[in-house]
């Protein structure tokens, strides 16, 4: 098949725009790319970069406005039906029929792919074994966990071994353990069946798992090559800075504002520093008294560098104020907290506390009970037993005024879509009881601080994801809450917006605001002062990121990533 050309897929000058309202919005601009056979190609970019559009074009579901696409040696404009016979495509929500059982889903896709009946039994057994779904064949797909759905979706696309496998964000919203298992399955296919795979993802750390990368940003292909090629360009520009006597956050805040610094991130008990080209920490005045050590660059460093660094997006530092040290006594206290749904115990008697001014992380696999816990803390769900206090009260029973002390931001940036930015801010400020001059002042503050002037009259539905996130955060902060609840606040936003977001969080924590955050991004766990990892309704580990990593490694290497620690913890629990 690959005899015709050496590439599995070739895109030449591909352009596509969709109508957004009355004017066309470009989704892809002049994309030229090739996908190599027999390996895993990663399609990397934030939400809205054009990944899905590109995937659908390769699957023959969208036709480009200009340019040509050839897949498996055939022109998609004329022979898409033939290509689809050798193609496996898993769309974003896995394309499963939730009211059919696992077996029925497999049967359907086997029928559609015309897998002969005699070959099915063997193939099913193989797939079920590989995905670990064998015990659940009779269960409805809708009743599977997120990770299992994702594996079933994959099994359905693999029911007849395709030549090219297209996976559109297969790992979105899935916990690290399931993600790792999925990658293992994909790699086995590449090795055993000589399959070519194109996999899109918003997780930059997954880029390292691919052999070849396509980088998309705002519809443009900004880079193509292997992860090593990308990170190779950053060689000698990445450093690890020891804390000295400073707090992690204080040091990071200081470094990130230096002109020669491209990016600065908290990582364990150090700050990871990426320098602009031609600069080295040793040349700079600020590096005096700092322990600076060269480290291996990662793909993400290259991506940030391609996007021009974080300097442009930093919120202004005028309000940088006196550091408040965490430890002024617990603001959130949870004791023996349980919640059951019918017979199912979602949360099984957990204890933890959060101190004032702390950034506290709540991590866990899908279905580990972290969202249940989160909802109980916010007062959205009553606890079955145990006690919980937020600022001294249970929000569920507390007078409404107590809720005026908390801010809440959900993972979908819940905004009123048809209302403009200004109207959203006006509504939320009134809902939090602000009025008159105070209200006007806070709305002005939000426009100023979150740089929303340009979009003041845009309906929030039409905002880009980054702006939505900003607006949601502004809305949650209008009433100057003491405690901020953030539910997966950064899912899907691009790495720059994510950095900007954490910059703000760090500043808030510096002012003494307590922040409780759930996340799927393990690197974000590093930014937390302390965190708990949950599994099956119980707490597996708690402490600072460093403590957690050490508890797993024993006496070993403390430099392993948070993700490894998380997976090791979960696996240890399963054994």
């Amino acid at each position: 098949m690959t005899a015709i050309t050496e590439h599995v897929a070739v895109l030449r000058g591909v352009e596509k725009s969709f109508m957004a309202g009355k004017r066309p919005a470009p989704a892809l601009c002049r994309v030229d790319a090739v996908i190599r056979p027999g390996c895993v190609t990663g399609l990397i970019g934030p939400d809205g970069a054009g990944k899905t559009t590109l995937m659908r074009m390769l699957a023959g579901l969208i036709r480009p406005d200009a340019g040509s696409i050839a897949v498996l040696g055939r022109d998609m404009a004329v022979e898409s039906q033939q290509v689809q016979q050798q193609l496996g495509y898993m769309p974003q929500r896995f394309g499963l029929y939730e009211d059919l059982s696992v077996q029925e889903n497999l049967d359907l896709y086997a029928d559609l792919q015309c897998v002969p009946h005699e070959a099915r039994r063997e193939r099913y057994a193989e797939l079920m074994h590989m995905t670990g779904l064998a015990p659940f064949t009779g269960r409805l797909a809708g009743q599977l966990s997120g990770g299992m759905k994702q594996k079933l979706g994959l099994a359905c696309t693999l029911v007849r071994s395709p030549s090219l496998l297209l996976l559109d964000e297969p790992t979105a919203g899935v916990d690290p353990v399931s993600r790792r298992e999925l990658w293992e399955i994909v790699y086995r296919q590449v090795e055993e069946a000589d399959m070519s795979v194109l996999c899109s993802t918003a997780y930059l750390d997954e880029a390292e798992r691919c052999e070849n990368l396509l980088l998309l940003h705002q519809g443009r292909l900004i880079g193509q090559g292997s992860p090593a090629e990308f990170s190779g360009r950053m060689q000698g520009r990445v450093w690890s800075v020891g804390l000295g006597g400073e707090t992690r956050r204080g040091l990071q805040q200081r470094l990130v504002r230096e002109a020669s610094v491209l990016d600065a991130l908290i990582q364990g008990e150090s700050v990871r520093l990426v320098m602009h080209e031609g600069h080295a920490p040793a040349d700079e005045a600020w590096s005096k008294d700092l322990q600076v050590q060269a480290v291996q660059p990662r793909f993400e460093d290259a991506f940030i560098s391609l996007l021009g660094g974080v300097g442009a997006i930093l919120p202004d530092a005028a309000q940088q104020m006196a550091q408040v040290h965490p430890g002024d006594g617990p603001v959130i206290e949870v004791k023996g907290l349980s919640r059951s749904f019918g017979k199912f115990m979602a949360v099984k008697g957990i204890d933890f506390h959060v101190r004032r001014g702390e950034v506290f992380g709540l991590l866990g696999a899908n279905g580990a009970g972290k969202s249940t816990t989160f909802r109980m803390l916010c007062g959205l769900l009553p606890a079955s037993s145990g006690s919980l206090t937020v600022a001294g009260v249970d929000l569920r029973e507390a007078p409404a005024s107590a809720r005026g002390r908390i801010g809440y931001m959900s993972q979908r940036f819940s905004l009123y879509g048809t209302l403009s930015v200004r109207e959203n801010l006006r509504f939320f400020s009134s809902a939090y009881g602000l009025s008159g001059k105070a209200r006007g002042a806070r709305i002005d503050w939000a426009f100023e601080r979150f740089d929303l002037h340009d979009v003041a009259d845009t309906a929030s539905n039409d905002l880009s994801l980054g702006y939505k996130q900003r607006l949601a955060m502004a809305a949650a902060l209008l009433h100057e809450p003491d405690i901020l609840f953030l539910d997966e606040p950064t899912s899907g936003v691009d790495p720059l917006a994510r950095r900007e977001f954490w910059q703000r969080i760090n500043m808030l924590a510096g002012q003494g605001v307590t922040v409780l955050v759930t996340t799927h991004f393990m690197e974000e766990a590093e930014y937390c002062d302390r965190l708990v990892i949950m599994a099956e309704g119980a707490i597996l580990a708690s402490g600072t990121p460093q403590q957690i990593k050490q508890s797993v490694a024993g006496s070993g290497k403390p430099s392993q990533s948070m993700e490894d620690a998380f997976i090791a913890l979960i696996r240890r629990e399963e054994v």
Partner: protein
């Protein structure tokens, strides 16, 4: 080989659809529970006939003449007469709505009856519901005509009425409104199953993203469409059989035409409805919007403009023209004829032809609009 491959894909799609129908309570509800509820409501609850209408009787001077006149009213099941002592009371009762009409015999009734020109009985009806009022006055006239004949026979008087009306009602001699409401309702039910349900399930596939993964497989668009049309055609036929069975056995509506012909025209209509449903879902791609469109475009016209309740001939010219593009119009006409009148080809052929043309039109439209692409 190619044929067997196509069969395998189609069979897979159809099996999937049936499993989904079976597991989704709302499909079952729309296909079987809703028809039963609607038929029961219309069959038992809703009737345009007036029976046991409460009538106030005000007789100012009771005597044998007024007695015999009133007696005629008491005998019929259409009226439930209540005696009132005087007009003020009766008028008050009418304002309160406890009686729908007043029959007023003045004190000179007994005397005037023997004089030339005769006596006048005054009937005052509550005209608010014009339809009921008209029915009441019609019934009253009937009562009067019967009384007249009796009176003439008893008194040996020659009643000189120049023209006597002799009416014959064909097809529905007992003039039961159930006989025409129930067949008409079947058209509404078929519209619901065919268009609303299909629009909902197809747009659900778009909404949940399963359509996308179907399209990325080698399945052709025709197969996807057939995979929807066949199961819902079967479901609709099931609903049709259920409705016909209820109409015939529960409500005793006569089925004078042939059953086979009935099922053939029902199939034609079902194809039209399915075509509309598929078209709506292709345009809407979202369950909420699809249900709104389906309601406005298919359900309401089937209810109001099909001749099901309101006579098309009496609508303004513009509205009458519009009714020609409403498929339910043809089906209602076919149903009422097949049930009550029989196999009347002059009605069946043009209406069935109209349905066939519409079915073809919608199916071709659906095939043209549905492309195996997302943009």
């Amino acid at each position: 080989m190619a044929g067997s491959i196509r069969r395998m894909r189609l069979a897979g799609l159809i099996r999937k659809e049936f499993l989904q129908i079976w597991r989704d309570p709302s499909s079952i509800a729309i296909a079987f529970v809703l028809p039963v509820v609607l038929l029961l409501l219309f069959g038992y609850g809703v009737s345009l006939d007036a029976k046991h209408v409460p009538v106030a009787l005000v007789v100012e001077q009771p005597d044998s003449a007024s007695e015999s006149f009133i007696g005629a009213f008491r005998k019929l099941e259409y009226f439930a007469p209540v005696a009132f002592p005087g007009m003020p009371d009766a008028e008050e009762a009418m304002r309160e709505g406890s009686v729908a009409a007043i029959l007023h015999l003045r004190s000179d009734f007994g005397r005037a009856i023997h004089q030339p020109g005769g006596a006048a009985a005054q009937l005052i009806v509550n005209g608010v519901n014009a339809n009921t009022a008209r029915l009441i006055s019609g019934y009253a006239n009937g009562v009067w005509a019967t009384w007249l004949q009796q009176y003439a026979a008893q008194h040996g008087v020659q009643v000189n009425l120049p023209v006597l009306v002799e009416s014959r009602v064909w097809f529905n001699s007992e003039l039961s409104s159930r006989n025409y409401l129930v067949p008409g309702l079947i058209a509404v039910i078929m519209t619901l199953i065919g268009a609303l349900l299909t629009a909902l399930v197809v747009s659900r596939e778009w909404e949940r993203g399963t359509m996308e993964s179907l399209m990325a497989t080698p399945v052709s668009m025709t197969e996807i469409l057939l995979g929807k049309v066949i199961p819902y055609f079967v479901l609709g036929t099931g609903g049709m059989l259920l409705s016909v069975a209820m109409a015939v056995w529960l409500f005793a509506v006569p089925l004078r035409g042939s059953f086979v012909l009935l099922m053939i025209v029902a199939s034609l209509f079902l194809l039209v409805a399915l075509g509309m449903g598929l078209l709506i879902s292709t345009v809407a791609k979202n369950q909420f919007v699809a249900s709104q469109i389906a309601l406005v475009v298919t359900f309401l016209p089937a209810f109001l403009l099909s001749g099901f309740i309101f006579e098309i001939a009496s609508m303004p010219q513009v509205v009458q023209v519009i009714t020609h593009i409403i498929p339910a119009r043809y089906f209602v006409s076919l149903l009422q004829t097949l049930f009550m009148a029989g196999d009347i080809w002059a009605v069946i052929v043009p209406n069935a032809l109209a349905l066939a043309v519409m079915a073809l039109f919608f199916m071709v439209m659906v095939r043209r609009v549905s492309r195996k692409r997302l943009d």
